[in-house]
């Protein structure tokens, strides 16, 4: 199935909604983590499955080892969100999340999952709220530890040809922490997103 790409109106609307959602997300994150959160302007892009490896490598801009967590969202909007953490930067997070005492590998993973869940939820809930869409989430799980971004997703194992991707970078002020949040919707889910965007455009 070939994806009907978004119209210019739909793209503009989505960009605006995502910008607002990320701004709110940054604000709520700052309240939860009690520190200042920097985030990039979200980038929206349609990607072809064959380019996924090079695309991911470009996002991260290095071949540093990363750890990746994924989480599904479903209901009116559906897809998966992937959070990439640089492997050496996430130790700093534990303290922030209130786990100062025990830092065994399991606790470290729990911190990653918690942070990933917060990032994903904050961004997606902001989008869903504006579109008046319902959203539920599954529990986060690990895709890979200590791998490179280019090795994370390989075209052979992916069940789609095209996907819509929203990408944003987070960093915390005064902390050695940075992560990439990638929200991906495969082709069949994009249709329902387009309907939501059209409904939103009609309402304004």
């Amino acid at each position: 199935m070939k994806l009907q790409s978004l119209t210019a109106d739909q793209t503009d609307t989505l960009q605006e909604i995502v910008n607002i959602a990320m701004g709110q997300a940054g604000d709520s994150l700052a309240r939860v983590l009690d520190c200042f959160v920097n985030l990039s302007v979200p980038r929206i892009k349609l990607i072809e499955v064959a380019q996924i490896s090079t695309h991911m490598a470009k996002l991260v801009k290095s071949d540093m080892p990363i750890t990746a967590v994924r989480q599904s969202f479903y209901d009116d909007l559906s897809g998966e969100a992937i959070t990439l953490f640089s492997t050496d930067g996430y130790h700093d997070l534990s303290e922030l999340m209130g786990y100062q005492n025990d830092l065994d590998p399991n606790t470290e993973k729990e911190v990653l999952f918690d942070v990933s869940n917060i990032l994903v939820g904050a961004c997606l809930n902001g989008i869903a709220e504006q579109l008046n869409a319902n959203l539920s989430f599954s529990a986060p799980s690990l895709i890979a530890e200590n791998t490179t971004a280019s090795a994370l997703l390989t075209p052979e194992s992916l069940p789609w040809d095209y996907a819509l991707q929203v990408e944003v970078n987070f960093s915390l002020e005064k902390r050695n922490f940075m992560s990439h949040l990638i929200i991906m919707m495969a082709e069949d889910a994009v249709d329902s997103l387009k309907r939501s965007l059209d409904a939103f455009l009609e309402a304004v």
Partner: protein, 332 residues
Amino acid sequence: MSSPEASLAPFLGTVVDRINIGIFIINTRMEIVLWNHFMEVNSGKTADEVVGRNIFECFPELPRNVVENKIKGVFILKNFAFSSWEQRPYLFKFRHNRPVTGGVEHMYQDYTFIPIKNEDGEVEHACVTLVDVTDTAIYQKMLKEALESLAEASHRDGLTGIYNRHHLEESFAREFSRARRYGGTMSLVMLDIDLFKSINDTFGHLAGDEVLRSTSKQLGALLRQTDILGRYGGEEFALLLPETNLNGAQILAERILQQVAETTVPYNDITIQVTISAGIAQYHEGMLRHEDLIKAADDALYQAKENGRNCICCAQAPDEVTVKGAGGGSSS
């Protein structure tokens, strides 16, 4: 006409209460608002006892930091939160439901924290579900154990249970590069059962197998924790001795030869007497690859066989070979 929701209400109450999943609701003051039957049975506290009370007062053993953090995400971000058994086996330490079959210490739990929005879109309540995933945890543990024993089996010789050739080569390469890098001492002993072919020819191959098993067992009993013993080929064994010089290796080899010569192997109605020969080489800097060490020990073993068997031959340096007898065996 009443709405479908209204007509379902009596059912929903029962479902929430009797479903085989823990469900409870807490408000922003951390007070328990709803406590279903699953929670009553497993916690030993009824809804009457806990509803309206602060959850941490009712259950001081809860990991407060963790739970508060998850709930903060629900109230502030209006977001879901999760806790998975793989990272955190439980929040409430409940008994497992395997009083008979056992195998675990407690119930393994997955939690989902769900924001409940009011009419204004504000979140004043969090619904928490607790799923018992003890079975999953047990299967995971079994799978892990199976994979570990599979990995172990792939390093073992099927007949004798000692390490196989593959594992020996890996260990040699590892220990060799360690000795080269850090300048350590190590010795290799190659051992070969004397006249094994005639044992097979005289008593049959099953008897030969029994001799191999018995010899492996005797060798294993004489070793230290760090020594690596394996079956190198048919009736040939290799023994890698880290942090051991030629002299130490020779003392051990002498004990091995003596032990093997003095032990008879019972097989059906007969007993079989065997002897073993040994070639020893110590690592020196002239050796560039681990195969050089094997070759030196192998050459020494060949020399020991030439010298009449049941004896030890040491390769001391590339150009100097000395021979020493052991037990009742001959020497040059």
